[in-house]
């Protein structure tokens, strides 16, 4: 009775959760809000696009790819296998063990009963297999815990929810074993079984009891070891006559049999039936709360990751329909297990160390993007860091290649990058070579130009320019430029004359503010601010011709680099208003 109420409750919570998570697939999405991307993609049109897409696949040869995906990606989990055999072992142990326990044991009365006409949970192989599967899951959980701890230095982030998932799975299995262990040693259960299935005279009863205490781990208040060997043999015979057809040896339940050692003290204190009830509640509550928790946690990947993997296999990340691009974004986000594979392989890992920004790691970006897609993140400081995290990316696409859930991270990050830049503060890292692959890919070209203008304007407004000066230029007091080779400049203008950038403009002074030799000159008179404000440093192609040709070893290009660093620092330190 109690069980049915609890089961009903957890199923209802689970269904509500599933509805909630599934509705996100078709209602949220990430992309810049500029007019060129605006279209009316409501839930209805998103769902119909998805259905059309699915039918388009079902009634075409691509259905073969779906079948392939089911075997290769879902059952064999090739994407994990390709990257790490240890992870694959852990995941496979948990996945296989848990799924088999779920069908054979949790749904035993429906699944096992209909598959095997002689199914009895107390008979082998079921008794043994239940323990084997349980141990498999525990071994997998053990490896997963080890992995999370040992990979911490490799920038693996673990949240409370990650531990919670592992603990949940572990507790379900352990509590199951404890329950079975307490049943094994329970004398009242033994008595019930004898009463129900056997009709024995007193001597037979004594022999059987001795046998069960000796061999099957029952703790009897009457009988105590050591027993007479003859009595045991007699008990074995009774056991063969009356029990063995429905109950194999408890030793086959090897894990639970060992667990009985732990449960015995509980039975001793609480009494054995109370102890069984206690562990029953523990096991049932663990299972049912896991069921209720599932859709709200990363365990939702049980549903989302297969969908995401099939989409990847079928479309190869090339989705044309805008509605389906958004659908696949949201399916992807919900399929993330925060396994950290992407962050461990992230080429920007060292930038995470120097910038001290979690959002540089792809796995952390994904956690944030869930909030962002739901429009739940409004803290400007966090948004600013996220914007930097999205931009400090080498576009090497390793994260997308490595993701075991097949999430198209690349697309998600490009869309969210421009989505944040669109609304956010100017992003100073745009003025770096992180922009190169973006220019190459030609995605969101207008959005890029618009965001770039915000940054260049910021620099224009924050530094003084030669043309703005009304009073005569005077000697500055000090300089912060570390590289002081500029002191060797004697204004021969070789640098300016050889510069391919200067050559590119009809009126270079207008376009570049200061020419290379003039920048050296402003450093010479101690006016670093003027040098930092020159457009020239941002237009420098870093070809090093000036530096190479300088007759007096002035390291112009290197000085430009440090001026750029300092200018960005100054802007960031002063807030970006």
């Amino acid at each position: 009775m109690n069980f049915n109420i609890l089961l009903g409750l957890s199923v209802i919570v689970c269904l509500i959760g599933l509805f909630f998570r599934l509705s996100i697939w078709f209602s949220q999405g990430i992309r810049p809000s500029t007019p060129s991307h605006k279209s009316n993609l409501n839930v209805g049109s998103r769902m119909s696009a998805a259905i059309q897409g699915v039918f388009g696949v079902i009634f075409s040869s691509r259905i073969l790819l779906v079948l392939k995906s089911i075997f290769v990606d879902l059952l064999f989990q090739k994407r994990i296998f390709d990257k790490s055999s240890l992870r694959w072992t852990a995941h496979t142990l948990i996945f296989v063990g848990f799924v088999l326990l779920f069908f054979m044991h949790a749904l035993g009365t429906t699944v096992s009963d209909s598959l095997f006409n002689d199914y009895q949970p107390t008979l082998n192989p079921f008794l043994f297999l239940r323990n084997l599967f349980g141990v498999m899951v525990l071994a997998g959980v053990g490896i997963a815990v080890f992995r999370r701890i040992s990979l911490k230095p490799q920038r693996m982030k673990t949240y409370a929810t990650d531990w919670a998932a592992l603990v949940f799975v572990g507790v379900i299995i352990l509590s199951g074993m404890l329950l079975e262990g307490s049943k094994i040693s329970s004398f009242s259960i033994y008595e019930d079984m004898v009463e129900e299935y056997a009709s024995l005279d007193e001597e037979e009863a004594r022999a059987l009891e001795a046998f069960w205490v000796q061999e099957n781990g029952v703790v009897s208040p009457n009988a105590a070891k050591p027993f007479d060997a003859e009595l045991i043999e007699q008990g074995r015979e009774v056991n063969s006559d009356s029990c063995i057809d429905c109950h194999a040896s408890n030793r086959a339940a090897f894990a639970s049999f060992a667990m009985a050692k732990i449960t015995r003290p509980f039975s001793a204190v609480l009494g054995d039936s109370a102890s069984v009830t206690l562990f029953w509640y523990l096991h049932i509550l663990a299972c049912l709360s896991f069921l209720a928790w599932l859709p709200f946690s990363k365990m939702f990947h049980i549903l989302a990751a297969p969908v995401s993997l099939i989409i990847k296999r079928v479309t190869g990340d090339e989705l044309k329909e805008p509605a389906n691009v958004l659908n696949s974004q949201m399916i992807g986000l919900s399929a993330c297990t925060h396994c950290g594979s992407c962050s461990i392989e992230c080429s920007s890992g060292m930038f995470y160390e120097t910038f001290q920004n979690d959002f540089i790691l792809p796995s952390e970006k994904v956690q944030y993007l869930k909030k962002f897609a739901a429009n739940k993140e409004h803290d400007p400081a966090i948004i600013k860091r996220m914007q930097q995290g999205l931009y400090v990316c080498t576009s090497c696409d390793r994260c997308t290649t490595v993701c075991p859930s097949g999430i198209n991270l690349k697309e998600l990050f490009v869309s969210s990058r421009y989505s944040l830049l669109d609304a956010g503060d100017p992003e100073t890292t745009m003025l770096s070579h992180f922009s190169f692959p973006l220019a190459l890919a030609q995605n969101f070209v207008d959005d890029h130009v618009k965001a770039l203008k915000k940054v260049t304007d910021l620099f224009k407004n924050n530094f003084q320019h030669l043309t703005d000066l009304t009073s005569p230029i005077t000697l500055g007091k000090s300089t912060t430029v570390v590289n002081n080779s500029y002191k060797g400049c004697f204004s021969c203008q070789r640098c300016t004359n050889i510069c391919p950038v200067v050559r590119s403009y009809e009126d270079p002074t207008e376009a570049l503010g200061l020419l290379p030799h003039q920048i050296m000159f402003s450093l010479g008179i101690g006016n670093v601010d003027l040098a930092m404000g020159a457009q020239m440093i941002w237009s420098c192609s870093t070809c090093y011709l000036c530096q190479e040709h300088c007759p007096n070893q002035v390291e112009l290009c290197d000085i430009f680099y440090s001026l750029k660093n300092d200018a960005i620092n100054k802007i960031e330190a002063g807030g970006s208003s």
């Binding site: 060292m350 120097t354 080498t394 003025l431 220019a439 030609q442 237009s539 290197d558």
Partner: protein
């Protein structure tokens, strides 16, 4: 000889043919390349933003190679310069070395400074040598005009890269000469492709690129051979995005050096990934192959020429 193969971020995802053709060529001479999945970005993209952020990634890469006990072989010029710059800076600044090592120690890594950074051209030129290369040629090009663009960051600043004479580079030229191609003298050979400004100042970046394309075409180039992976992407990808220049027959097709040498060494064009260059079409490939001839005959002709001239 075995090297830790540093491919950087662009090559594995955008220019796989550069890696496969380089490996195929080097294997011919008994040099093995070990892929190192643990390598990260060289740091170059962060150079405008922060000096330490720029240096640290290269220091980690070098520490990984030191742990493997291998020197690093690099393809990309910008990666090469970043690694050399990090090595050079830390040799001079032991305080910074300690500071950057403190980031690595968490992962059980330490940069000591014993690893050597080698560009693949250096390995071809110094370790194998043009003589050895010539001996193994099965083909040689005739009447193929190439404009090579050396790329800035392999040559300059010369104190850091220590690759070649930065004013009159000879390594690349001599290596090209082994294949029999004519390396044209052209404006832009030693100049910037514009890659460093892409995404920051696209107008200027493209102007610099167009200048190089026209320069090479005016000089009569059949193909352009970029050494740097950034130059390659400028010519092979950005060139196709340039406005008003969309018809493919006007494109200046790209051929990488290991692809040229690979054909002369008799390596299959599929393996060299020639058709993966997006500016090349099937006709181009046929044309290149038709210009291949036996290497010995060519030498005889030369001798004859020399004899008649004398």
């Amino acid at each position: 000889m075995k090297y830790a193969f540093f491919q950087g971020c662009n090559i594995p995802i955008r220019i796989q043919q550069y890696a496969t053709s380089t490996e195929a060529v080097l294997n011919k001479f008994g040099i093995e390349l070990i892929e190192v999945p643990d390598f990260n970005c060289c740091g170059y993209p962060a150079r405008n933003v922060d000096e330490k952020a720029y240096l640290l990634p290269s220091v980690r890469n070098m520490a990984i190679a030191e742990k493997m006990g291998r020197d690093i072989l690099v393809i990309c010029n910008c990666c090469f310069a970043s690694l050399q710059k990090a090595k050079n800076t830390l040799t001079k600044d032991s305080k910074l070395k300690d500071e950057l090592n403190s980031f690595l120690v968490k992962e059980g890594l330490q940069y000591k400074g014993c690893v050597q950074i080698k560009h693949y051209l250096t390995v071809l030129y110094e370790e194998i040598g043009t003589e050895q290369i010539r001996k193994q040629l099965v083909n040689r090009f005739k009447d193929l005009n190439i404009s090579v663009i050396h790329g800035c960051h392999i040559l300059r600043p010369r104190e850091i890269t220590t690759f070649d004479d930065s004013f009159v580079p000879k390594i690349t030229e001599e290596l090209l000469d082994t294949t029999g191609v004519t390396s044209l003298d052209w404006r832009g050979k030693l100049e910037c492709c514009g890659a460093a400004l892409a995404g920051i100042n696209d107008e200027l970046s493209r102007k610099l690129l167009k200048e190089k394309i026209t320069g090479a075409q005016t000089a009569g180039a059949d193909f352009i051979t970029p050494i740097c992976s950034y130059c390659h992407l400028q010519f092979d990808t950005t060139q196709r995005n340039l406005d008003g220049d969309k018809s493919s027959d006007k494109l200046l097709p790209v051929l990488l050096y290991p692809q040229l040498l690979g054909l002369c060494l008799g390596i299959d064009e599929q393996r060299l990934g020639i058709e993966q260059n997006s500016t090349i079409n099937a006709d181009d490939v046929q044309r290149i192959k038709s210009l291949l001839g036996p290497p010995v005959e060519e030498k005889k002709k030369r001798k004859k020429k020399a004899a008649t001239a004398a």
